[in-house]
Amino acid sequence: MTPTTDETRGVRAITWARRKQATAGVWREFARDRGGLIGLGGLVLIVLLALLAPVLTDETALEVTNTTAQPRQPPSAQAWLGTDRDGISVLLLVWWGARVSLLIGFSAALLSVFIGTAVGILAAHFGGWLSTTLMRFTDFFLVLPTLVLAIALSAVLPRGIGTIVLAIGVASWPTTARLARAQTLTIEARPYIERAKALGAGHRHVIGKHVLPAVLPLVFAHTTLVVANSIIAESTLSFLGVGDPSRPSWGGILQAAFNSGAVSQGAWWYLLPPGIGIVIVVLCFTLCGRALETVLNPRLRGQR
């Protein structure tokens, strides 16, 4: 008997209702964690500010040719955070730098989590020599110094945002792979997977309908931590000079400051804001991630 469309819709509705319920439960648990809430609030605010930068500020003021201010001036009424080596307002630079840093952080994290989840699920689902090889590779990449690998990659590829994203993504996927593999293994050991297989479910059905929905929440919690890591990695790479010079991220601003002698001149207003930006964003992501992990991993509950 083939199910009628009505029945299918009924099943779907039940699934969605359950998912909604589960999400509400997760949210309630999450809201109990004050750190997590603070982190989330901070992130929402920062992302909104970054998105609204073209509306709230004037991009043309970032052009060297349009500026009339003196270079390297300490904070004043005109430039709240002082000016940089070309006389551009540091506040404006940091505001626009947030867009680049966040964009790269999110994209690199997505790439890394995508590779990691795919490798982890495949390794756990298929087993055998494929699993051995994949995990061998994962362990190998896990111990390699990520930054050194990313430096190597961005040195040999053409400069640009894409290269940085690729370098960070390729260097940082192994932790996600281990997580996804462990979770897939526990899911696939459960009886309902055996039932599905007995009813004739193929690899695609098992992975798509059963494994993925169970793995994704944990991976999502983990992603917040990966984004934080990616933002730090991006700033370090840019500071070392492999970033995109035409669109300075927070790391790029710091590189310009360092190279133009801001340290020896004691130009603290040039060095502090981009770094504080990084610390706040990373801290927010870390707080969110820790709260989410506590919610999704009951073993950790009551520890923190």
Partner: protein
Amino acid sequence: MSDVLTGIEQPADEEAARGAPRGSGAVRFLLGKLGSALLSLALVVVLGFLLFRMIPGDPVVTMTRGRPVSPEQLAELRERLGVDKPMWQQFVDYIGGLLRGDLGTSYLFQRPVADLLTERLGPTLLLVGTATLLAIVLGLWFGIRSAWRRNSRFDKVSTGTALTLWSMPQFWLGLLLLIAFAGVFPSGGMRYSDTPPDVFSQTLDVAYHLVLPCLTLTAAVYAQYLLVMRSSLLEEMNAEYLTTARAKGLRDDLVRRRHAVPNALLPTVTLVFLQFGMVLNGAVAVETVYSWPGLGLLTYEALSGPDLPVLQGAFLVLAAAVILMNVLADLLYRVLDPRVRAT
């Protein structure tokens, strides 16, 4: 950094999954570990070739990017680097060179890469070694006390500080310390040129230059150890053997020192070794800020070329160092944990 949250169970997981061999365990264990380390080394060597020879397409074009060079110069450079030969021939030459300890010639420094690397290895070892030791002492001390008095004010302050330090890019912390201590400590390098040549003054001078870079590197690393130590001690806190120890009438201090800490120490010690790659990451950034003449600064200098032979050499050395630390971690784990030895 997520390793702190998820990584603790990994080593034990792995031992169970692999099903350690019985019988003359020690020898087989050792051979197995050495074998897998050698395989990793081989992978590093291949990856080094892939990264610096195959991905760039024409390495010479990459290296001379943005500089005016005549076709003759390009051809000459190609010949000297050996990149005009077919790929397989290049690979054979590369392996042969590695076996002879020949890593090519630097393009920026015009010197053998192997010489450059050995020259820069010492300062990096000094910096990384001192910082790791300091970080272990600080991280364990604070971590143990935080976990023992969980949710106390001490715990909140020390964990909060650790999380903040951890969220900081190390190079930025370095820049801040440089500004804060301008004039008190030297702003870079490893020694003053006018220091008397006797051993005592030289040591003092290097130590004086070491203070800031070492502090910077320690700050992020100790934070990691603290969080790991704290969470692994928290996992032990509810164990029944602690109740037994208390029931015996042991002082709280002794329960902690003799019973809880030794057990919680295991995952932390392994992680100290496993996270060695992270320390090296930090070293690259810190050495750049303080122009500490180690492998990290060499990498930074080579990036401006990019001087591919030097980058390749530095990559190989740093990756090999991490693999070595992993073997040590495995061996140490076996020595420290009787449960692993018994299987």
